[in-house]
């Protein structure tokens, strides 16, 4: 063997990152950037909006077990069809609640009062959940014109059917989608083109409450004093602590921490075919997406990466390779994870992936992927090169290096400054509370990262003092949408064991023109009523932008189903083309910009309202 045998020549940037030397620490606001969009800021509007009445609960503060650390998702969805996005925040639980010894915390549905405030209507709506909640995705699975919600749990999942009167009913068992175990990300999408929304659910870890992996002893253990029942698994920087049979506890940077996910049994993934009549059939194995290897699934995205008119599937897997499944069009998927280049990073390393954002950040007409990652490793941006291939362009695109000290979760592409280029926001937070006790150049609570897109290259832009971007939390779920219908995109973050963060976009609607498109599909033409899976191309100012109606994504969260385009200085839309989920491509004449336009597949443009005028 060579004297210079090194398997890991391209290990992630190892070692502790020094404060102030090339990377911004997670708790401190980055220095003001000259590249920031002038006059645009994200204000922390949570208290004023009333969202701070929700408090997330996830086990104990020490985070002895992995289920306590993965957090919950958030959905921005107009549940009552009034044209204003409401907010659904999934909640976690406690071991005492699971044993029936304590009252479980409740999820929260906040109704949008159309004046910047929200009212908690959870109980009336019947959306408490009461299980250890994980993710949420929206889809009108029964084509009744009202968005339904699927909620994943550590425990049996729920399918909340929207009754249309402000209330929901859990029909998961009757529908055949009551997934047991630990499910995380989910997404609705019509993979077989029959016009009905199917459902994909990612599985994470098989965790048995009666046989939990060892908890860490509290307090640090000096090196050499650890019991030595068996040698600890090799540490892989950029990933969590691995469990190995017989270890008294698991270690991260020589400190005892919770175990997993590496070393624990993984949960499989599920694809449910919508049979109509409120029934689904599990077709995971037949379709080839069952995840027999039990990789640790988190973020899920249906998207058409090869533009063949069929929804493909991406699953962000924690500590294992991602899945990219190409839809063959015959009800099955081809696993092209490795061949596509989207399974691993550019050097062929597995990463600890969490959330996934999909968007055409360079306006070349194809969907790209951004996937968040563990601390000491970078968030990865996969550029869609066409011909079924992706390239990891994280470093040259500017998203890698700033993300190194951060442990990323939810992410979304959004054009926050309406300049016509998709920007990127990432919610962050470490999984180990002890991160604050050591010189690891990271922290338990971390601020969000906002990257401005300068024509295909990203620059981190900081919030000024007092900005919502400078507040450090242990964030998990993240969803984007125009909550106040003012023409710019706001963001909600679900924070572990804390109140949520509402980042209200102030000034985005003044920085550039915009167009928001709401699509209504025609089930009679085999298109889902809420048009999930439809793609919109908007050409203005000579730039053709891509957007789509999408369920799920981010870290187990649901963003606005409407499609928002920033138009920059363009004052008219030259062309708006909708490729409906059933494959039909139709062009529409848009009368004016700075409008929220509703397009009904059967009737054409049915409304074009100005800011804050609702539908």
């Amino acid at each position: 063997m060579s004297a210079h045998h090194r398997l890991a020549w391209w290990a992630p940037v190892l070692g502790t990152l020094l404060l102030g030397q090339g990377t911004s620490p997670p708790t401190v606001s980055a220095p003001p950037s000259a590249s920031a969009a002038p006059g645009v800021a994200f204000a922390d509007a949570s208290p004023a909006a009333g969202l701070d009445r929700f408090h997330h609960v996830s086990g104990g503060s020490a985070k002895d077990y992995i289920v306590e650390a993965t957090g919950s998702g958030v959905a921005l969805v107009d549940y009552d069809g009034d044209g204003w996005l409401d907010v659904y925040l999934v909640n976690g639980s406690t071991f005492a609640a699971l044993r029936g010894a304590a009252k479980p915390p409740s999820a929260a549905l906040f109704h949008n009062d159309r004046n910047g405030t929200f009212t908690d209507v959870t109980r009336a709506a019947g959306l408490e959940n009461g299980r250890w909640g994980q993710g949420v995705c929206a889809g009108d699975f029964d084509d009744d014109g009202r968005e339904d919600l699927f909620v994943t749990n550590f425990g049996r999942s729920r399918l909340f059917r929207n009754r249309g009167d402000g209330t929901f009913a859990d029909v998961a068992e009757a529908a055949g989608v009551a997934v047991d175990g630990w499910s995380t990300g989910c997404a609705f999408g019509d993979y077989d083109g029959d016009g009905k929304l199917d459902l994909f659910v990612a599985g994470y870890v098989k965790l048995d409450l009666e046989r939990l992996p060892p908890a860490p002893p509290h307090g640090s253990v000096p090196p050499g004093d650890a019991p030595s029942a068996s040698p600890p698994p090799a540490e892989v920087r950029g990933m969590g602590a691995a469990y190995s049979a017989g270890v008294p506890y698991c270690e991260y940077r020589s400190q005892p921490v919770m175990c997993g996910p590496r070393g624990l049994k993984g949960e499989g993934d599920r694809l449910f075919h919508n049979d109509g009549g409120g029934r689904f059939t599990d077709v995971s194995a037949r379709a080839g997406v069952a995840d027999g290897a039990g990789l640790y699934g988190f973020g899920v995205a249906f998207f058409d990466y090869d533009d063949d008119g069929r929804l493909d599937l991406f699953v962000a897997n924690d500590s294992t390779p991602n899945y990219l499944y190409r839809n063959r069009g015959d009800g099955t998927f081809q696993d092209l994870s490795y061949a596509s280049g989207a399974a691993l990073d550019e050097a062929g390393r597995e990463q600890a992936h969490m959330g996934v954002a999909v968007g055409d950040y360079d306006n070349d007409g194809r969907d790209d992927l951004h996937v968040t990652n563990f601390a000491d490793d970078y968030n990865v941006l996969y550029h869609n090169d066409g011909k079924g291939l992706f390239s990891d362009v994280s470093y040259p695109a500017g998203v890698a290096r700033p993300s190194l000290p951060f442990l990323g979760w939810g992410d979304a592409f959004l054009d926050y400054d309406n300049d016509g280029w998709l920007d990127l926001i990432v919610g962050n937070g470490h999984v180990y509370p002890i991160a604050d006790q050591f010189d690891w150049n990271t922290s338990y609570r971390q601020r969000p990262l906002l990257f401005r897109n300068l024509a295909g290259r990203f620059v981190e832009v900081a919030g000024s003092a007092g900005s919502g971007l400078s507040v450090a939390r242990s964030s998990r779920g993240l969803a984007a949408g125009d909550l106040d219908n003012d023409g710019d995109v706001d963001v909600v973050l679900s924070n572990l064991d804390e109140t949520p963060t509402l980042l209200r976009n102030d000034g985005g609607n003044q920085a550039g023109h915009w167009l928001t498109v709401r699509l209504v599909g025609d089930p009679a033409r085999s298109c889902p009523r809420d048009a999930i899976g439809s793609v919109v191309f908007c050409t203005a100012g000579g730039i053709r932008r891509r957007g789509e109606v999408a369920s799920g994504r981010s870290h187990i969260s649901q963003s606005d189903l409407r499609v928002h385009f920033g138009l920059g200085a363009a004052t008219r839309v030259e062309r708006l083309e909708v490729r409906w989920a059933n494959g039909a491509a139709v062009a529409y004449d848009i009368p004016a910009v700075d409008r929220l336009v509703t397009i009904d597949q059967a009737r054409g443009i049915v409304s074009a309202s100005s800011p804050s005028a609702g539908r």
Binding site: A8, G22, D208, W440
Partner: protein
């Protein structure tokens, strides 16, 4: 850990009981003397026993431990080496030798600090210790102090370069590596590190040159072939990359990264059948074991994984300087 060898400063020197004339002491007598701290007696009894039984490894070990306990480390070292010469797999001797190695290292370290506290080597050693403790800031301070004292120290230049590279300060790393290469144009670590730092900055031409230089020093380095293959692939030279990646995979058949990048290169070259075969190999390597093996593991440990806990590359390391 010195207690394992005995208490160097302790050792109640009880008068040695007169051994019966002509009787060989038992190993238990030797051990008891050692255990009660009477190291001189333990040595005397062991020597007496070895006179009649020169191959008795137990007596050699007791004697060597007692020598160590009396602070006569060289004699102790020789004693353990004697045992290993007769019995290379003697776990006791290896264990005590490991402990003794640490004690000797500490003694030499103390001597170095006492003799030349501001010498480049003293700073280097301190820097290495801080590195081991994951205190990179302190390590960098020591390395820089050492470099001020000896600006041409290859070890310190490469240490600082590696530290900067691991912290994503690639330009700084390149500067240190280049200084090292200027002093020693065939320094593998400097050439290899230089290539990696350039690669991270997407400066593939200088990276390729540096990796080729490293391979000129050590053509059997799978890591350097992998790194060169990656740089070639990233710079659009897929055909050239194939050759390097094939060499890396041949040298290290379990190197997932080499196989994966080889598959990427085949794909770009339109060699789709070969790419598919390689990706199958990547999948097999990534999953770590056969389904039967997985089932066995699960049966043995209900919590346990379905795949190896750490199939990932190990952290980068420097070769010993």
């Amino acid at each position: 850990m010195l207690w394992v060898l005995g208490t160097a400063a302790g050792g109640t020197a009880l008068p040695a009981p007169a051994a019966r004339a002509g009787a060989t002491p038992s190993i238990a007598q030797c051990t008891r003397a050692f255990d009660r701290g009477d190291y001189e007696l333990a040595i005397a009894l062991s020597r007496q026993r070895l006179a009649g039984r020169p191959a008795d490894t137990g007596a050699h070990i007791v004697m060597a431990r007692a020598e160590a306990a009396r602070g006569r480390f060289e004699a102790a070292y020789q004693g353990f080496r004697k045992v290993l010469a007769r019995d290379p797999r003697n776990a006791d001797a290896l264990y005590y030798l490991t402990i003794l190695g640490g004690v000797l290292a500490q003694a030499e370290y103390d001597r170095l600090l006492a003799m030349a506290p501001d010498s480049p080597r003293a700073h280097q050693l301190l820097g290495d210790l801080y590195q081991a403790q994951q205190r990179p800031g302190d390590a960098e301070r020591e390395y820089k102090s050492g470099l001020r004292a000896q600006p041409t120290s290859l070890d310190l230049l490469v240490a600082l370069a590696d530290l900067a590279r691991h912290q994503a300060r690639f330009e700084e790393a390149v500067g240190y590596y280049e200084r090292a290469v200027k002093i020693s144009p065939r320094h593998y670590d400097a050439l290899y590190g230089l290539g990696v730092a350039h690669s991270y900055q997407r400066e593939y031409e200088p990276a390729i040159a540096a990796f080729r230089g490293a391979l000129g020093v050590d053509p059997s380095s799978a890591a350097a072939h992998l790194a060169l293959g990656h740089a070639l692939l990233q710079s659009g030279q897929a055909a050239a990359a194939v050759s390097e990646l094939e060499k890396a995979a041949a040298l290290e058949p379990g190197m997932t990264q080499a196989h994966y990048l080889l598959g990427r290169a085949y794909t770009l070259l339109g060699r789709s059948a070969e790419a598919a075969a390689v990706f199958d190999r990547v999948k097999a390597l990534s999953q770590g074991r056969t389904l039967e093996e997985q089932a066995e593991r699960q049966a043995a440990d209900p919590l346990g994984q379905q795949r190896a806990p750490a199939p990932m590359p190990s952290p980068e390391g420097r070769s010993p300087r």
